[in-house]
Amino acid sequence: MDRNQSRRQVAAMKQCLFDQDDANPNFVEEIVTLHYRDSSRLISSIEQALKERNLDFNKLDTLMHQFKGSSSSIGAKKVKAECNLFREYCREGNAEGCTRSFQQLKKEHGALRKKLEAYFQLARQAGPHETACRSK
């Protein structure tokens, strides 16, 4: 189950990234690492923004937009879906919905990260070629 989910995510990502054998097999890993680094920052700023008394929905929307773009680029479907939900709440001005959705988003984000990490671990063990060839 986990593996499947992870594969799905990774497959989606690969689709975007178009991983190739000859290319840097660590590319995917690089991207993911980079993404998580950036997104952590984003998440914390969103969190910060959510803590404010009067939520600035515009700002939240902007931040979330960034996060969404980034996540979708690496193929994190579920995370992206959560982003959309969050933005919907933002648009409605539903503070509670935002918070809720954000929590969910963080969860997904974290879960994906774990899966990817596990995946990379395996990939490294399995050998570069195999990793690169992983299909959908």
Partner: protein, 658 residues
């Protein structure tokens, strides 16, 4: 992020400019990717590499612009994110369109209809939704081809059309065929028209030229007065005017001019004189070309006049003798501005005097004047949108510059000029840029951006035309104007030939700078004169001058203004510069050289193909001026800009460095 390999790759395929479609096309396509999100940037780069493109990454819009400016012909296409912290993606789009006329593709995770529509109106070639699929990236080369194709076509079309227009205009002015400018003017006209056409087409989406007749203007005024000058936004004005076939852009550019005009009226007298000079451009001896540009007609007439006036200016400038064309029209001219009377180069009264002072300007004078009318006219027609309006002004100003330069040298004028120029320049630049760019850009950025709500865009359109005008004055008539516009000719390639064209505008800038008699220090912000690359030897005429002048103007402007605006201007200028045939540059170059030397022109070493570095310099300078101008304009722009246009209206000469 890092501009990695971008530069390197540029060099390899620099040649690909317009005509390089290598055998392996689209492999080797030089792509610039701009996105603040590093993850996306990396992914895109990877995918593009996979498509065998040469990729340069950039995570900041400003950096991207400077890269583009430095490598005028270094890229074939640009991919940009919409939401970026330092600059809005659409603004970048506009800039690129104006300055470089490269196809730009927008990207965003946002797929809202209005955002996509914004991309369209600003001139984006395409809009991709993130996550971007590789299949989508595979086909981006089509935009490059398309742009090139359209750019070339526009040039041709415009040429013929322009001719016709020109001839008409010529008759208006009558004595357009001043001794000096006879040959030039005709050439210029042609060029200008071409440029204008090109510009029009590209930028204005082939909008028919709008000639702001007296009645139309009155309607406009009525609407504006009804709304109140503060609340007068193009959209509302358009509604009130209720004129079929009139677009918001037309109104916007006209409004810009109008604002400029008002500013001038209330501004410093000097400036006004300059303005008037611009506007009126050649009133008497110079053949007034209404700089207001609002009135294309006037411009056309002006153009004719301009040629004359330019000639005069030249004479004046050079010989300091006659020059005094009827510049003095400061206030009276203003009226003309809006009344669309015979275009007159309003060269401020003193401007003629300046002529004598500004030697270098003289060169420009000749050109600008000619160019202006044309350009203005062209602008009008082409941009139709606000830009046109703006541009004409710009153009005039640009043209006037030379004249003004002469005159303005005296200084106060400079201010006015600067204002005029500034605004004009901006416009000009835009127009200039446009011309060249229009071919290419118009489709994309310029056209959209500019045409769309941007005053600048429209401005640019005019500019390109102007550039031709500019060139004309310079004597080259075709060349000069072509120069600036020639950029346009090379579709796709950022033709910043504007050098030629810009000369006039430079004058303006110089004026701005205020008397810096050749204050070429315009550090061309961003005006990478790509044009230089294109700069086909301006043959002989002025090409050099304009650029020089422009440069001067720009540098100063640069500092003040953000690159953005000036860039556009610069771009225009560059375009003109490029157009300027090197030969011209040579002629001019000499004078410019001096100028250049004086001013620490920031000559960007654009790759001017064979030609004179001068041209390149000019080009870069021009751009610098553009930047300056835009800076000025920005400064000046107090009037509420509508829709992020380059509202030159607010641009007052005051800001111009005096």
């Amino acid at each position: 992020m890092n501009l990695s390999n971008g530069k390197g790759s540029n060099s390899s395929s620099v040649k690909t400019g317009e005509n390089t479609i290598s055998d392996h096309f689209p492999a080797g396509l030089r792509v610039l990717v701009v996105d603040d999100d590093s993850t996306c940037l990396l992914i895109l780069e990877r995918m593009l590499r996979f498509c065998l493109y040469e990729v340069t990454k950039c995570n900041r819009a400003e950096a991207a612009l400077s890269i583009l400016r430095e490598n005028k012909n270094g890229f074939d296409i640009v991919l940009s994110d919409v939401h970026m912290p330092d600059m809005d993606g659409f603004k970048l789009l506009e800039h690129i369109g104006l300055e470089m006329d490269l196809p730009v593709i927008m990207m965003s995770a946002d797929d809202g209809k209005n955002v996509v529509m914004k991309g369209v109106t600003h001139g984006a070639c395409d809009y991709l939704i993130k996550p971007v699929r590789i299949e989508a990236l595979r086909n981006i080369w089509q935009h490059v081809i398309r742009k090139r194709k359209n750019g070339g076509k526009e040039g041709e079309q415009s040429g013929s059309v322009e001719e016709g227009d020109r001839l008409q205009k010529g008759s208006d002015d009558g004595d357009y065929s001043s001794s000096v400018n006879e040959g030039k003017s005709s050439k210029k006209r042609r060029d200008e028209e071409d440029e204008g056409e090109e510009r029009e087409d590209s930028s204005a989406l082939k909008k028919p030229r709008v000639v702001w007749s007296v009645e139309l203007h009155q309607q406009f005024m009525a609407a504006v007065n009804q709304l109140g000058i503060d609340k007068a936004v193009p959209k509302r004005i358009l509604e009130l005017m209720n004129v079929p076939g009139l677009t918001r852009e037309n109104v916007a550019s006209h409004l810009q001019k109008y604002r400029l005009y008002l500013r001038r009226l209330s501004g410093v007298s000097q400036q006004s004189s300059l303005n008037s000079s611009f506007m009126s451009s050649q009133e008497g001896s110079f053949g007034t070309t209404s700089i207001n540009g609002i009135d294309l007609q006037t411009f056309s007439a002006g153009s004719q006049l301009q040629s004359q006036s330019l000639a005069k200016l030249q004479a004046a400038g050079l010989g300091r003798s006659s020059a005094k064309p009827g510049v003095p029209m400061p206030l009276s001219d203003h009226k003309n501005l809006f009344s669309f009377e015979s275009p007159r180069l309003r060269f401020g009264e003193g401007q003629l005097q300046h002529l004598s002072n500004n030697k270098p300007i003289n060169l420009l004078h000749g050109i600008p004047t000619n160019m202006e009318p044309k350009q203005l006219v062209n602008l009008h027609q082409s941009s139709q949108t606000l830009g046109n309006l703006n541009m004409p002004l710009n153009v005039s100003s640009a043209q006037n510059n030379p004249l003004l330069m002469h005159m303005a040298q005296s200084q106060s004028r400079g201010q006015m000029l600067s204002e005029n120029t500034g605004s004009h320049v901006n416009r000009f630049s835009s127009s200039l840029v446009q011309p060249t760019v229009t071919n290419g850009i118009s489709n994309g950025v310029l056209g959209n951006g500019i045409v769309g709500n941007r005053n600048i865009t429209s401005a640019y359109n005019p500019v390109p035309q102007n550039s031709s005008l500019l060139s004309f004055p310079m004597n080259q008539s075709n060349e000069m104007s072509v120069n600036s516009f020639s950029l346009r000719n090379t579709p796709g390639t950022s033709e910043f030939k504007g050098v030629g064209g810009f000369v006039p505008s430079y004058d303006m800038f110089n004026e701005f700078n205020h008397q810096k008699s050749h204050d070429w220090d315009l550090t061309n912000t961003g005006m990478t004169y790509d044009a230089s690359q294109h700069v086909s030897p301006l043959q002989g005429n002025i090409d050099v001058l304009p650029s020089v002048l422009v440069h001067q103007g720009f540098p100063s402007m640069q500092q003040t203004v953000q690159n953005r605006d000036t860039t556009s201007i610069g771009k225009a200028m560059f375009s003109t510069g490029e157009g300027i045939h090197q030969s011209n540059l040579q002629n001019v170059g000499q004078s410019f050289n001096n100028l250049l030397v004086d001013n620490s022109l920031r000559v960007k070493d654009e790759r001017i193909p064979d030609q004179n570095s001068q041209i390149n310099d000019f080009l870069s300078e021009q751009y610098g001026q553009e930047d300056l101008i835009s800076a000025f304009l920005k400064q000046q722009e107090s009037v509420g800009q509508e829709e992020d246009e380059f509202d030159f209206g607010g641009y007052s000469l005051d800001n111009i460095s005096t």
